[in-house]
């Protein structure tokens, strides 16, 4: 095995363990800290794929913005220990069923995964262009429509959040 493979094994194994720890730790703030470490490992995996832009954005957006908001909400609610009430844990067979069906779906999807798209971006071109520029060029020319659709969906979500927050006040 090469050193890269050893690194990959380290990342894969620790990501699985961290994910398990996140949902089993009692203190919600500790589980957010573990999630932060998990995001770092994901960014590390992106770096192995020479996707430095994705790695940086992963840390800036997920770790730097979204997770801070999680932490913010948990601190505002002042949850020192996770709420254990029958309402949340009574229906666990339903949860297990949903989880299993989603994971089956994922396994099915991954086993049918095919690399269909073949653009003119070879590894040599990406190396000279740098990953960031190549991504930007493809995203804003070939995949402009999906990109815009995704941004409109996000915009709708933002507007929806504001509407919900307004109703609460009146």
């Amino acid at each position: 095995m090469t050193t890269v493979e050893y690194f990959f094994i380290y990342f894969a194994v620790s990501m699985v363990f961290l994910s398990l720890l996140i949902i089993t730790v009692k203190n919600p703030v500790h589980s957010i800290l573990l999630m932060l470490v998990l995001f770092f490992h994901i960014a590390g995996l992106y770096l192995f794929l020479n996707a430095e832009f994705l790695a940086a954005v992963q840390v800036i957006l997920y770790a730097g913005a979204i997770l801070v908001l999680f932490l913010f909400v948990i601190m505002m609610l002042n949850l020192k220990e996770e709420l254990v009430s029958h309402r949340f844990i009574g229906e666990w067979p339903v949860g297990v069923a949903i989880g299993l069906s989603i994971s089956l779906f994922c396994i099915f999807a991954i086993s049918h995964f095919q690399i269909k798209y073949e653009g003119n971006m070879t590894i040599e071109i990406i190396k000279t262009l740098t990953n960031t520029k190549a991504l930007g060029k493809i995203l804003y020319t070939e995949f402009l429509l999906p990109f815009e659709i995704a941004s409109i969906i996000l915009l709708i979500a933002i507007v929806g959040a504001i509407v919900l927050a307004k109703k609460e006040q009146s």
């Binding site: 203190n27 703030v29 500790h30 800290l33 932060l36 430095e52 832009f53 790695a55 940086a56 954005v57 840390v59 800036i60 770790a63 730097g64 913005a65 801070v68 908001l69 932490l71 913010f72 601190m75 505002m76 740098t130 990953n131 960031t132 520029k133």
Partner: protein, 334 residues
Amino acid sequence: MEFLYTLIINIIKVAVVFGVTLLHVAYATYFERKVIGRMQCRLGPTEVGPMGLLQPFADMFKSLFKEDIIPTKADKAVFFIAPVIVLAPTMTSLSVIPFSEKFIIADINVGMLFILACASLSVYGIILAGWSSGSKYAFFGGIRSAAQVISYEIAMGISLASVFLMAGSVRLDEIVKAQYEYPLSMYAPHLIIGFVVFLIAAFAETNRTPFDLPEAETELVAGYLTEYSGFRYALFFLSEYVAMFIMSSIMTLCFFGGWTIPRFITDILPFLLYVPGIFWFLLKVYFFIFFYYWVRATVPRYRFDQLMKIGWKVLIPLSLFNLLLVAFVKRFVL
């Protein structure tokens, strides 16, 4: 063999930058106390050593030998690790800053994004410090810091996006080189809106006056720092000064031409080309650091709702407008 050689060179570089930064922080505190003292018609430190020059070391030894107090209600593990979470990303982002054309520790393709990522991580330490102390004042400080940093990071990122757009790169050295082509060899006059937005957001991002609400002593004792003492307190202090240095470096690199000086000056006085670039870089950086102190001695603290209003209703729309303007100019005029 080749690998070992680059490793040793890099370790030496890291050691040099680390040592110089620690020394910089020591004398930045001295500089701050002298400048603010003079602005308020006082003398500043004078007692320890000639002209008070050994004052930073006296302060350092004092904080080293102080008792390390841990509150009984504290979450110990998080309380211990919080100062490290603040300091580590801040120190890490020093590694991608090009101090001159040749001197940079890690020459990576996404330099500017790396610094933004590090800056957004160090806020965790502040929030967790506030949460883990188990005290109301510290908790409020942490909450305030979270809200403040998230709001101002957006304005900061968008104003930097206009720089990326102008330079066509997120590499810091290419941003500097792209600026050299312009008449004043800097982006500040062209991207004046973006620069002003960044300047204001940088104050909020480093928790400095007039936006130092997380540690507002009139309302919150010392905010998230309330329960910290001794060397852990010193670590927070250290990271605040390093963060100021980094913000000043970003302003220098992205808006003020980094290690270059305007071409018309070197045309008149050609011997200035022989001055090493790091001199100009540090000159500009220390101008901004002086500006931080100047503002601290001049402007009173904002109220928290005012701070939020400035962030969301003024700075973000302004930076978006600036981004659109730059995109338009870049596409149709240049």
